[in-house]
Point group: C2
Chain length 506, copies 2
């Protein structure tokens, strides 16, 4: 390796180390930290964020980039070094636009806001949460202002935010996709509502100890390995990786809603498998930071829904649930489980929503976020706007802000522009699922047999191992030969729901 | 506050934040991290250490110190600001002597060494551990070389190391104290050996779940509060604080050796109470870093031994042990417990040693460390030297390196010069115990009643709240009116052991 490239890599590795330390502070805050540690934790996160920002954005990084770029001119565009430089250059130019103090303020406000959210949500007190959201919005607007004239492809304030969570994605494209998705989902949901059926399975008592056992077994089937993973409890489940060999997922349990723990854990494990599958030679490079959250979400959704809610998986897991849960679930069949976990029912909580209504939860957030950022909606008007949109899109009355506008952690810690990546992930998961079936004629049979390694190997080869070497757009082009699209996901959904509801939905 | 002082405080606060993040990485490594995370954790610790070192030692810190010093000239010597500056100045001058790369190498080697130690100890394989110890020793010698001509009070290489763990303490003083201590302990232990008695209590079966319950209750009595504390399991128990409101202690359990969990937890909780008792206005200042480890150890030892192995505590806790343990302990009396946990028996493992023999475990390490650092003993000769010294001081045959030279974590992570502070802590605990009884006529009665708040309040007022504002020497002068001394500890020990053995030992 050239001397310039080696020096650049060393500098970027330090930034990755700081990122990993920040991830650990965040993981610990949500899983381990005693409450009185919160104030100092916010200070520490602010400091680490500031130092990482200062070191990354300083002139020396720019000089290292210049030197490495000129040395690597003409080298294969597909080499890791070229891609490391390209990604670091873009991130450096973006980060240079953000004053160090603003970055620290955002980290600090996010940490404080998250603590406030936990308390406010528990107390169903939007008034206690509002100032923290307002503060985060003010900071986000100052952040957006930093990118005036930065990139000609930015057409609106929201583009600046989206680009951070899904590099290259723009509001216009998302609006078009979401319009198409909504036009598919609304009539589909209406049709299914006419065929609603009762379900007593998901709310049946399933002791938490048995759920823990089940979750442990399912994650092991997927590839969770205690030598390189952890599973912990938290209020809002998430996945993080401190290293390729140190992946941490969390879940939560409700005795009377076992799908939350099971599918939540499969979801986070899907994220974890992505992080654990990055090629070891990318450790401590920017390419190990998986920054397309829509691609990330395609992995979690694929395992949670396309695998986890499939007929073969339900057939396989139902007897084990019956055994572990006993009681009202003692005679659970695969068919019953398959119907129960694929029932389409407009409901309050995004993370408990089915695959069909889920998209509308996201469309709602996407629209409200744009209004908040652009100042067309004030924080005090937000609960009402939320409740109205829930009524309009899903026909649902929101009984409390805790189960409404305050249900998600994201806004409390300043993550605005993040939600669309969830629905984009669904779309991508549909595209990957179709491609995997084209590439692997034996895929369905392997899933019937409970062998997930065929699918995992395909995902590692095509998606995981390259890390973030390719943009979401490039990656899709390489793997499925085209751009992000709505049709494969909707086709998959209609086929499965047609099976569940015994209807012809195409 | 003046502008210079405010700027200095801000800079020092960042260093404290980095220290706290490093503490968290270390805590997590020992309690939570999956094994495959170790390599990257070592990188991250190295990076954080390097960045903290760079930022603290740069010229800007020196300018801030100069400005604050000149502004505060003439201000009360006892003010926090003056003490912050003085401590930061000394630390800055020390840290400037150490090249950034060396500091990072030490952190990195310590992290790798600790992982290697866990595996080598489990496999009883000193050969696998030796290169890591050698590496740590080489780095320690390079470290010592940085302090040539630094402080006229440094008389030998070991002084440089001691000063880091107990500022102001010198090898000559420790040698004198340890000589006096050994001259007291050796005949005492010989006398008691003639009156050895059988004990079946400590090894009696006590299910771990019951031990957990007991430990939880005892720590709550002491002041452990889940709002600001955590208790976790680890191989080598320790205490750390990430903030005044985020104190973390660990312990370990053995069904057939309950004193390890109980007294280990009381010991670490004693450390934790010290950290949790620092005045809130010292948060994020260098005065919240409790860097006299002998003072720290006086707190842990005081709770573990002077409280925990006292007759009143044993009387109080024995019925609860009987209840929780059942089986062979179902009829445990306070008298039986008191005798069992104060039995003097030369043995292999330092952290399981009684109060009388403990000091000799430390004297042994103090002497071997000096020989290693000065090159009078090689790493390959160490196991033999260890075993010979164990035989000489304690009359004990060492059956395996795992229970011999590899029993402690310290050397694996480069902590050389640390051990003496344990025995110094014992001496200080004896001095504080005597003083507390002079100041508080009702102290004994409060302990009989199981009310630990009288003692805790006294400790907070006289020791905890000032943090590290005063050196160990100054603090003792203020609290007991004299220097560190052997006599109070030995008098306490003889009085208690006289009671246990029904002998006149004075």
């Amino acid at each position: 390796m050239s001397e310039s490239m080696s020096a650049l890599r060393q500098r970027l590795a330090e930034i990755e180390d700081l990122r990993g330390a920040t991830e650990l502070l965040g993981w610990d805050q949500q899983t381990m930290m005693p409450p009185r540690g919160a104030e100092q934790r916010a200070e520490a996160l602010g400091t680490l964020e500031r130092i990482a920002h200062e070191r990354f954005t300083d002139d020396q990084t720019g000089r290292l980039l210049d030197a490495a770029e000129s040395e690597l001119a003409g080298v294969d565009d597909d080499s890791n070094d070229v891609r490391i430089i390209r990604k670091a250059r873009r991130n450096w130019e973006k980060a240079r636009r953000v004053p160090t103090d603003l970055a620290a303020e955002m980290a600090h406000a996010g940490s404080i806001g998250q603590e406030a959210w936990v308390a406010a949500r528990a107390a169903n007190d939007f008034g206690a949460f509002a100032p923290h959201l307002q503060r985060n919005l003010d900071l986000v607007r100052r952040y957006v202002d930093c990118f005036d004239d930065f990139d000609p492809s930015y057409e609106c304030a929201y583009d600046v935010l989206l680009d951070d969570y899904d590099p290259g994605t723009r509001t216009r494209e998302v609006s078009r996709l979401f319009d198409e998705l909504r036009d598919e989902l609304v009539p589909l949901i209406a049709t299914l509502s006419e065929h609603a059926f009762e379900d007593q399975i998901r709310t049946a008592a399933f002791p938490v100890s048995g759920q823990r056992q089940l979750v442990g077994e399912v994650l092991r089937m997927m590839g969770f390995d205690p030598a390189g993973w952890r599973l912990d409890d938290t209020v809002h489940p998430f996945a993080t990786s401190l290293a390729i060999g140190d992946v941490r997922v969390t879940t939560r349990f409700d005795e009377h809603w076992f799908p939350m723990a099971l599918y939540g854990a499969m979801h986070e494990c899907g994220h974890g498998l992505y992080a654990a599958g990055v090629a070891p030679e990318l450790e401590r490079t920017p390419l190990a930071s998986l920054d397309s959250l829509s691609t990330h979400e395609s992995q979690s959704r694929l395992w949670e829904n396309l695998v986890g809610r499939s007929r073969p998986f339900c057939d396989r897991i139902a007897p084990r649930i019956a055994e572990l849960a006993g009681g009202p679930l003692a005679a659970l069949s695969g068919e019953q489980l398959f119907r129960a976990v694929n029932q389409v029912t407009p409901s309050l909580i995004r993370i408990e929503a089915d695959e069909a209504t889920y998209g509308l939860h996201i469309v709602l957030r996407f629209e409200l976020e744009q209004q908040l950022v652009e100042g067309r909606l004030s924080v005090s008007e937000l609960p009402e706007a939320w409740n109205a949109a829930m009524k309009q899109y899903l026909g649902v009355d929101v009984p409390s802000d805790a189960d409404g506008v305050m249900q998600d952690v994201h806004w409390s810690c300043g993550l605005i522009g993040y939600f669309p990546t969830y629905a984009l992930g669904n779309l991508i998961s549909g595209q990957l699922w179709r491609q995997a079936h084209l590439d692997l004629p034996d895929l369905d049979q392997s899933l019937v047999e409970g062998d997930f390694q065929v699918l995992l190997s395909w995902l590692r080869e095509h998606v995981h191992q390259v890390g973030s070497k390719y943009s979401r757009r490039e990656l899709l082009e390489r793997v499925v030969g085209g751009p992000i699209a709505v049709e494969p996901f909707v086709s998959y959904l209609k086929a499965k729901l047609g099976d569940v509801y015994q209807l012809s939905l195409s």
